[in-house]
């Protein structure tokens, strides 16, 4: 593993192994898909993700109760918050709401926030990286300096200061989680495009007179996508954890009725002694979802990394 400093910087959060050397051609094709299907990691991760998505979509059908209903508030005492029971599988929360229903609806918030923020971050990042990679020169230098600045602040800290300024809302969290992803994806795409451009097939395409723009769009860019895909699936897990961290710190929606896993953990801190179940269920939900994306991302990387092909 010849990890360059830059490659490591790109992997700041979460993942570890070598991305720079993940290579390309026809790896996005059938062969890659076949390898993903055969990998038990991918099957487990994929199932978790699928389950999570289904729960999010069908939340209204699956949830036994209205997540906002405080109908059982009369059962709440300062020293007693009822835990799991036949009527409420995951117990009640401190406001007398059904914890299971809130967890189910919480999947929605996590999915929307996680996916949207990643898509925004990855898209903007990819555009910037594409510009830098395709034009080079001063465009490239400018992009690199700006990403340098952004990367000099750890991701969560950057997200925190962004969310702080926008204020309490889900949009704020989406933007805050998206922004730190921008430099990561910009650098990754630029880096792999530069690496790709130095490969022999580009030189040979140029030598037979393929025009530069079509070369970049048809060959260099698609072949640089593989590492992006890997980064994206791993970054999704980080996005979900970071988004819940921000709402844990109280930066999510100002409306206390909104079910968000991170937020549900904030409320819990005070009742930890009385009601540990309130910490366990949302915490485990975040963990399993993040694990699903990590397992899947790992499998994608293995499928796309020619070094692991044997």
């Amino acid at each position: 593993m010849k990890l360059s400093r830059k490659a490591v910087l790109v992997m700041t959060e979460g993942d570890v192994e070598d991305m720079a050397e993940i290579a390309p051609s026809n790896s996005l094709g059938r062969e890659g898909l076949r390898r993903i299907k055969r990998n038990p990691l991918a099957v487990v991760g994929g199932s978790v993700i699928l389950f999570f998505i289904l729960v999010a979509i069908f939340a209204p059908l699956l949830a036994p109760f209205d997540p906002r209903s405080t109908a059982w508030f009369d059962q709440i005492r300062p020293t007693l918050i009822p835990g799991p029971s036949g009527a409420h599988w995951f117990g009640l929360d401190a406001a007398g709401r059904d914890e299971l229903s809130r967890i189910i609806y919480g999947a929605r918030a996590s999915l929307v926030i996680g996916v949207l923020s990643l898509l925004i971050g990855a898209f903007i990042g990819a555009m910037i990286g594409l510009l830098a990679g395709a034009f080079g020169g001063w465009v490239d230098s400018l992009v690199m300096r700006i990403t340098d600045i952004m990367l000099s602040v750890p991701g969560l800290l950057l997200a925190l200061s962004i969310a702080a300024v926008i204020g309490q809302s889900q949009t704020s969290i989406i933007v805050a989680v998206a922004v730190p992803n921008i430099p990561l994806f910009a650098r990754l795409l630029r880096g792999s495009m530069l690496g790709e451009r130095q490969k022999d097939y580009v030189a040979s395409a140029e030598s037979v007179g393929v025009r530069r723009r079509s070369l970049v769009m048809r060959h260099v860019f698609p072949n640089s996508l593989a590492p992006m895909l890997v980064q994206a699936s791993l970054a999704l897990s980080t996005a979900i954890i970071d988004a819940s961290a921000l709402s844990f710190l109280g930066l999510g929606s100002a409306d206390p009725g909104v079910a968000e896993w991170g937020r549900m953990l904030t409320d819990t801190t005070r009742y930890l002694r009385v009601a540990p179940h309130l910490a366990i269920f949302p915490g485990v939900a975040i963990m399993i979802t993040a694990l699903g994306f990590n397992l899947f991302g790992e499998a994608v990387r293995e499928a796309l990394d020619p070094k692991l092909r044997r």
Binding site: T12, G14, A245, T268, M287
Partner: protein, 334 residues
Amino acid sequence: MVKFIVRRLLLLIPILFGLSLLLFIWVRALPGGPATALLGEKATPARIAEVNKSYGFDRPVLTQYLTYMKKVIHLDFGQSIALRRDVTDEILRRFPATISLAAAAMLFAVGIGVPLGLMAARRERTWFDFTAVTASLVGVSIPVFFLAQILKYIFALKFSLLPTIGRLTTTRHLEVHTRIEVIDSIIAWDGGALWDSIKHLILPGIALGTIPLAIIARITRASVLEVLNEDYVRTARAKGLRTRAISRGHVLRNALLPIVTVIGLQTGLLLSGAVLTEQVFTWNGMGSLLADGVIKKDYPVIQGGVMFLAVVFVLVNLLVDVLYAVIDPRIRVS
């Protein structure tokens, strides 16, 4: 080497300027400006005007920025709105606590992560390896604030084994020198205080150190496996070297490069990323300063804190690069 360090330090200047500019514009770019953010959407225009005047928000942005930067160069980040104290003083007062927490976490992460990664690599494709890899994947998936609460519940609330609040039992008196309790208690030659401060570090350290541990274990495993496949390890074997000499002289030394990089990066992250852990364990460090600043929209604290931590982050990474050059002669030359 000196030239390299100086050059890297000089590079820090444009980064800091850029960062301060970004933060500054960001705060002022919002609809209604900082005063609205400070007072909330429903604030009366009169109140907003008042706040704008007292903080100088009514002057042109460029003037504001120049005034701000003039102060920043003198390490003056202004006054905290919520705490009514100098941001710089507050940062210096809080940072040592974060250092001791990050150090405890890294000690835990490196102390367990590196041997674990080594063992997994040596037993590649056995159940031990599989378990270690899976565990590290689970490790990076645990939200810190969840792990912190679980630890707190099990070790403190359920079994009362370890303290979970603060850095020292409140009734204990310890003379302040460095604000790092472990060191202060050694200076005071107070064994009880030392043990007390260590006990306070255990749970937050584990909570904060788990993700780095998982990452370090994985990179160690991957890097050792990579090196084991290198031609020069085969050469070392062909020379008849003993297994131990190969592991120490050839495998570890070369595998260290990516490990050092990741350790440095994680240290940088921990020094700044302790926001969540500090919040759960009521640890009055930089993290909780920032978290409070964020909730209270205390912009001078956010600006100052983020810039300070960015400097720390960049410096730690610089240190890693220097270490890197010490280990790898190929980098030393270029």
